[in-house]
Amino acid sequence: MRRRATAIAAVLALAALAIVAAASAKVDRAAAPSATASADRQLVSCGKTVTMGMLAPITGPAASLGKLQTDWAKFYVAAHNKVKKNKHKLRVQFGDTVLGGPGGTAEAVKAAQSLGSNVLGTIGPAGSNEVRATTATLKNAGLAFVSGSATNTELTTDGTRTNFFFRTVPPDSAQGTSVANFIDKKLKFKRVYIIDDQEAYSTGLADTVQQKLRAAGVTVSRDGVSQQQSDFSSLIAKIPRDTQLVYLPWQLPPKGKAFGDQMRSAGKGSIILMGSDGLFDDAFASLGGVYASSFPTSGTHPVVKAFRKAHGGDAEFFGAPSYVAAQVVGGAIDRACKDGKASRAEVRAQVRKTNLKKTVLGLNVRFNAQGDIRGGQFGIWKATSAGTFLPVG
């Protein structure tokens, strides 16, 4: 009796074994990324198409952000592949990081681990905590990762990611300083209300602005509201009527618009709203008279115009840095592939040497030793009553 049972168990084990073996039989073991230092020097033949990765939230609560980023990145790739003199075409392997979804940052790591051995460099991840969680994986694989939205200051200053991580947005410290100076020096406002959205990006920025403003003697009140909420009416009711400006370092422009609409219907439309780069978008601008901080991009840039045309008139500015990130990675791959072969280490070195003139961000993009844009600054923009942002400082 017992013997039969053991035999059955053994058969079960063998069957399971066979399945595992069959499943992994086709794995290209030689090209597997591993922790050994030599892996990132492995030469990949560039051939007709080269692959770069992109880590973005494609599903989950932040999927709308992921869409803006992937739209812009795809726009770059399509443009790149149309140019005849480019020797090879770019292909993007997407990884879904499900930002804010059930799996937490583990999903981001899984997405990073799913990048194939032919991926030479990657765009993203989007969130600062995702960058933190995927650092070990991407570093082990020797990949350069260029984020278009992870703005937490420490990502570059703590030294853990140097030469691997780069970003095409200035960090919170730069943005926070510009914003605080503008409110204090230009607008000379004395009563400011800051509402963060309880995520890493937002609280960091809110902290910086709050600290700088308080130091300058401005009265600052602070509150936070979850990204998943759409009802701000009770929060609005709480904002004193003599408040001069409400600062919203948020990431979802539609939420910013909803906030503005609800301010208006609460009879507080006269209080000025100011958003961060996350709200630098047509949806938020349509409120009219609102401020937002952003890189000094311009709607007249030919690429922005073309993008707007291809996307039903929507410039989706939040994704623009991801276009530049794609430009950075794509350009680095192109340069590394000059000799027909490239390794991840080469691509990293080339990313480091990036020198892009007049990008859609309105900045020249070159990286400093830590991986931040040199001279990356934020300008302040004000929306006209017709809903277009114009630079004011």
Partner: protein, 308 residues
């Protein structure tokens, strides 16, 4: 006392509370009959909001509606409610009915599967971007006031129609034949079926009504707060569940009361407590715990009598 703030908070709390109440009703009705927590309910609400949006755009969109605004709004409600009702019936038929005699926890996972399915289908079909109802263009930004109490049109609409729907539901349950059958079924399903009640039909109608209310809640929410997206059902579902438990799960007036209470609590917590908005969920849950400690079966719930 700053009365203006108080009234602002009250109005906003009541508006949100009405939405929660309608969601909670769906939870509570299904629970009453099947003892099942229908975790896909929040996603039905999300689908409702999208159906309202489609109705609006088939009727010409918010800027140039092809009929008067009021008719458009009524049609949006009707379309969303019927679509969600049908969806609810289908969910019941295919995801829950086969599990009716299974352990109580099994349909919970089936519900979770439905929730995944609906959420990602919406993402696939409707896209990841937010969609805007543009209520201002549709029904104007007019605000009515009585002394310090300000009410915008959508808010008024929400509160009034929620009250209307609740009265309708109460009458339905209390007066009609199907209402009686529902009560009988929730009291004792087996006995009801022996008394010649078609239990399957009763359950299906319960799902229809509950889901239709969720659909209405979705449209209302979008009318007041503007944006809709595929993930909006998650939080609303959680809040609706909370409201249903506060009111005493299984009790219809309890769900209404619970919904309003949660809405008001959120609003007052945001307005009056330190860092109210940041810690909103904590404050609301603390209230919930307090209520459960004082009345272990919710405000209007009946305590289970256990026979030994």
């Amino acid at each position: 006392m700053n009365w203006s703030l108080f009234w602002d908070l009250t109005v906003s709390g009541l508006t949100l509370g009405s939405v929660y109440a309608l969601i909670a009703l769906g939870y509570t009705m299904v629970y009453g009959i099947l003892k099942l927590l229908n975790f896909a309910h929040g996603d039905v609400y999300m689908i409702g909001a999208f159906m309202g949006w489609f109705a609006l755009h088939w009727l010409g969109g918010p800027v140039n509606p092809s009929a008067t605004a009021w008719l458009v709004v009524v049609l949006m409600f009707l379309f969303a409610m019927v679509a969600c009702g049908g969806l609810g019936v289908a969910i019941e038929r295919f995801a829950y009915r086969p599990l009716r005699n299974a352990p109580r926890i099994a349909p919970l996972i089936s519900a979770l599967g439905v929730s995944f399915f609906l959420q990602n289908s919406a993402l696939l079909l409707f896209g990841a971007s937010f969609r805007d109802y543009d209520t201002f263009h549709l029904i104007g930004a007019k605000t009515y006031n009585y002394k310090d109490i300000f009410l915008s049109v959508p808010q008024l609409l929400t509160i009034v129609s929620a009250i209307g729907l609740m009265i309708g539901l109460t009458l339905l349950v209390a007066r009609t034949k199907i209402g009686k059958a529902m009560r009988a079924t929730s009291f004792d399903r087996e006995a009801a079926s022996m008394m010649g009640i078609d239990v399957d039909r009763v359950i299906a109608s319960t799902f229809f009504i509950g889901s239709a209310l969720a659909g209405a809640a979705g449209v209302m929410f979008a009318l007041v707060f503007g944006q809709i997206y595929h993930f909006m059902g998650f939080l609303a579902g959680l809040k609706g569940f909370t409201a249903a438990v506060i009111g005493g799960i299984g009790s219809i007036p309890g769900a209404m009361l619970g919904g309003l209470l949660v809405g008001l609590a959120e609003s007052y917590a945001t307005g009056y407590l330190p860092q109210g908005s940041t810690f909103q969920n904590l404050y609301v849950f603390a209230l919930l715990i307090l209520i459960i400690l004082i009345r272990p079966s919710g405000l209007l719930g009946k305590a289970d009598v256990k026979k030994v």
